[in-house]
Subunit: 351 residues, 2 copies
């Protein structure tokens, strides 16, 4: 019998945002890897690619030409997962097992830059501020549409994350329902707010700043940290210090600080394995259902799959799919590694 | 305005086992694929591989020799995610955000066959019955250990599912807590049973057999179907017709019928894209906490990632991680495709 050592002993941690546990196996980082290696493209991308359907002036799948855009550029996804069509539907409550209902939605693609080769960490702060303005505009425009109650802004980066085009871009899926993960989060935020009259993340950020060991970056308005309950090896969250519930409520100073922390965090990511670091990221914020939502607190999740190197990722498979998420390195260790990495992009040193 | 057509219109479906929704986009199967292709090994495997740490007689990472086993063979995982050590732990309830507790567990590897090259679809029914007996024995032995309350039997098949060795094998992770997904399932099963005095899956199977369009295989004791709420393109469940709550309660006839449906289903999977079909699979059944659990109903999940071909998988990424799972082909269509595939393995036709 020995005393519990969270840095050494297998344990479970609780995620209060979605009420789920994660299995942490600190000792397991030592196991040898004989499995699949990802292929990572090391080719230098051109500034403009004539075959890229996202580059300015080029033709898209639907035959339309992109404009000669100079900053960011938004268009409707030609193969959207949802449609705007209004559907007549009579809910048949007799169906215990076959419960389905139509869903209305709009999908858009957001090109971050006319440059085919520039990802977030390599952009200027001003260019990132411009993306933030685009996100604000889309959140407002889409949110104002009567049937849209939720606007999901996200990015899939890297082929390992199903991204089919290296031209820097994100997506927005706006829809009538709250998606499953958002609904879970909202329930947790709401019950915390009702009880405490502060947002869960306001108090969480304070507790994390006090603890210190999971903080990656801090500036006047935002914190980037590896959450205590992170499932992916280098998962992080960017959380606003102020309890601001949506991106459109940022002050000018907050927008700039958000741009800065985005650049810094993604630079550290690239520097971790000297590669254009793959991830899926996305913003969770207030639904656009017309209600006030004081319980919501702006945050951005980063879910990066890499574990050991630019080519070895963590597989969330058998046990994780059937049982629960499992991680091999503690969040504290990951935060320490990210914290110590340089803010200067490795490519700018080589050049 | 048009009437809702579940085969054409985007919609959400509800999974009553874990209380989550999935977004279904039937029209989206048409979109072109320009993204990552998986690498699939087409090399013919030898019956015995001297470098394989799972083959009979060979040496494992810990220096131990495998016996000259002739059917299935079980050993403790050398790099287990959990340990058996008893840990002294004082629960500190002051930690709202930093909730953690030690977890005890045992991980084992189950080699399905001494043959390096034989996966489930290519095995004889008798050999598969033998694996079922091994699962029964492990479930009993591990379940009898005082600190083990749950025994998760699963298989990761194929390098795309993080499997590092093609020698046919599965794993068992047994532990003190109910893993997240199992706990969710148990809650749903329990509240259904308390209300109806029948198991949720007993009634679900009846409803599916009546509907017919999601059934892939049926025999006297088991049904293989694409669940109404499936998230993976060719996801299936094998469910016992009788409300049997654990594998150790199978009759002899049920064991044989289970072996047969396992062989048939995995054969259809291989025949789908003429490839050794990757998946993670696993059994959900009664916990081993000493309670009776009449609400539990034996079932096995298959989560296969492939979508369009042997090399193009479905990516559960940005929207799916931040919002909710999304699928491009209806479960009814997938079931129809699987149903129509031959029960004779494509390799046996070539030979
Ligand atoms: O123990 P293995 O087979 O090496 O590991 C594989 O299965 C485990 C259980 O699903 C996962 O945690 C690992 O990420 C995966 O690579
Ligand atoms: O629309 P895209 O970028 O082609 O598709 C990618 O992102 C989507 C949203 O996360 C996923 O559903 C797809 O599986 C993925 O390949």
């Amino acid at each position: 019998m020995k005393n519990f050592d969270i840095n050494e002993d297998p344990h479970r941690r609780f995620n209060p945002l979605i009420n789920e546990w994660v299995l942490v196996s600190p000792h397991r980082a030592k196991r040898p890897w004989q499995g699949q290696n990802e292929t990572i493209s090391t080719e230098e991308l051109p500034k403009y690619d004539p075959t890229c359907y996202l580059c300015p002036g080029n033709v898209r799948a639907n035959g339309m030409n992109n404009p000669q855009y100079e900053s960011s550029f938004v268009f409707e996804n030609d193969f959207a997962a949802m449609k705007q069509d209004e559907i007549i539907f009579e809910d048949d409550i007799k169906h215990t097992f076959f419960k389905a209902k139509p869903e209305q939605g709009i999908s858009r693609v957001v090109c971050f830059s006319p440059r085919h080769d520039l990802t977030l960490p390599e952009m200027e702060i001003g260019d990132i501020e411009n993306i933030i303005r685009t996100w604000q505009k889309e959140y407002t425009d889409l949110g104002n549409i009567k049937f849209i109650n939720h606007v999901q802004i996200f990015e899939n980066k890297g082929s390992v994350m199903g991204c089919s085009n290296p031209h820097p871009h994100g997506q927005i899926w706006a829809q009538s329902s709250l998606p499953t993960q958002v609904e879970k989060t909202q329930n947790s935020l709401k019950s915390y707010y009702d009880k405490n009259q502060t947002t869960l993340l306001e108090d969480y950020v304070k507790a994390e700043l006090k603890a210190g060991d999971r903080i990656v970056i801090e500036n006047d308005h935002f914190v980037a940290l590896v959450p205590f309950w992170a499932i992916w090896p280098y998962e992080t969250m960017i959380i606003s210090k102020r309890a601001v519930n949506k991106i459109t409520n940022f002050t000018a100073a907050e927008s700039t600080a958000f741009a800065k922390i985005l650049k810094q965090l993604t630079t550290k990511y690239d520097n971790l394995f000297n590669t254009s670091f793959p991830y899926s990221s996305g913003i969770h914020q207030s639904p656009t259902d017309g209600l006030i939502h004081p319980e919501w607190h702006f945050h951005m999740h980063f879910y990066p799959p890499l574990l050991r190197s630019a080519t070895v990722k963590k597989f969330m498979v058998g046990y994780e799919m059937l049982g629960e998420s499992q991680r091999d390195i503690t969040p504290e260790k990951s935060a320490e590694i990210l914290r110590q990495l340089s803010d200067v992009h490795y490519k700018s040193l080589v050049k």
